[in-house]
């Protein structure tokens, strides 16, 4: 959080409970955006991009993409 940020700016929350799984426990962590490790965020972008590319290849060239991917 940048210096001088107002106290009320530090709050992030969701009112809608996560629906992503049937698990009994859900932990949510919202760090300050500027302090997120760049590697973590880059990894997320890489993985997302890779999955999109693989899905697109599967649709366009299904006979070329190994199933192991």
């Amino acid at each position: 959080m940048r210096k001088g940020a107002k106290k009320e700016d530090r709050r992030i929350f969701f009112r809608v409970v996560s629906r992503i799984s049937r698990a009994n426990w859900v932990l949510q962590i919202s760090p300050d955006f500027v302090r997120i490790p760049i590697a973590f965020f880059a990894g997320f972008v890489y993985r997302l991009g890779r999955e999109i590319l693989i899905l697109e290849r599967r649709v366009r060239f299904p006979y070329l993409v190994p199933k192991s991917l």
Binding site: R10, V17, I20, R22, D32, F41
Partner: protein, 149 residues
């Protein structure tokens, strides 16, 4: 920085705590699904949460009605709307939002807290991990990591 831990004690009753270390605040979270959603009936959810984004402290009590409209409209959307009372401003506000299911395991949630709009985009890796990118008030970026176990 903010962390929440929610326990689904019952499919229709969830309890948890919210911890905001920067302001030293611990807050209870309660969600009660009063009416479950069916193909033709919306869900009614009542809950207790921290006050809306933008207030320095306080508790909010809310009641929302939500319904997945894909069956009726063919669109992957699930809007919700309701009322919220916040203890900081001691005011009742109308709230609402729209959940949109997108391709590639992504969902978008656009929330209106009665004053401002907060759009977000969630990518679900699997049943355990999810990452949400959100724009608080449409201007300030933020990220939430969700771990389910």
């Amino acid at each position: 920085m903010r962390a929440t831990l929610i326990y689904r004690w019952h499919p229709r009753f969830h309890v948890g705590i919210e911890y905001n270390p920067k302001v030293g605040e611990v807050h209870p979270l309660i969600t009660f699904i009063a009416v479950t959603e069916t193909e033709n009936r919306p869900a009614v959810i009542i809950g207790l949460s921290s006050d809306r984004i933008g207030t320095p402290e306080g508790t909010s009590v809310y009641a929302t009605v939500s319904k997945d409209l894909q069956h009726w409209t063919g669109l992957p959307i699930a809007p919700y709307g309701g009322l919220m009372w916040g203890s900081y401003e001691k005011k009742v506000r109308a709230i609402g939002g729209l959940n949109i299911r997108l391709p590639y395991r992504m969902t978008s949630l656009i929330q209106f807290d009665g004053v401002k709009v907060h759009p977000s985009l969630t990518y679900t890796f699997n049943d355990t991990h999810a990452l949400t990118f959100l724009m608080i008030r449409g201007t300030r970026p933020g990220v939430t990591y969700t771990f389910s176990f």
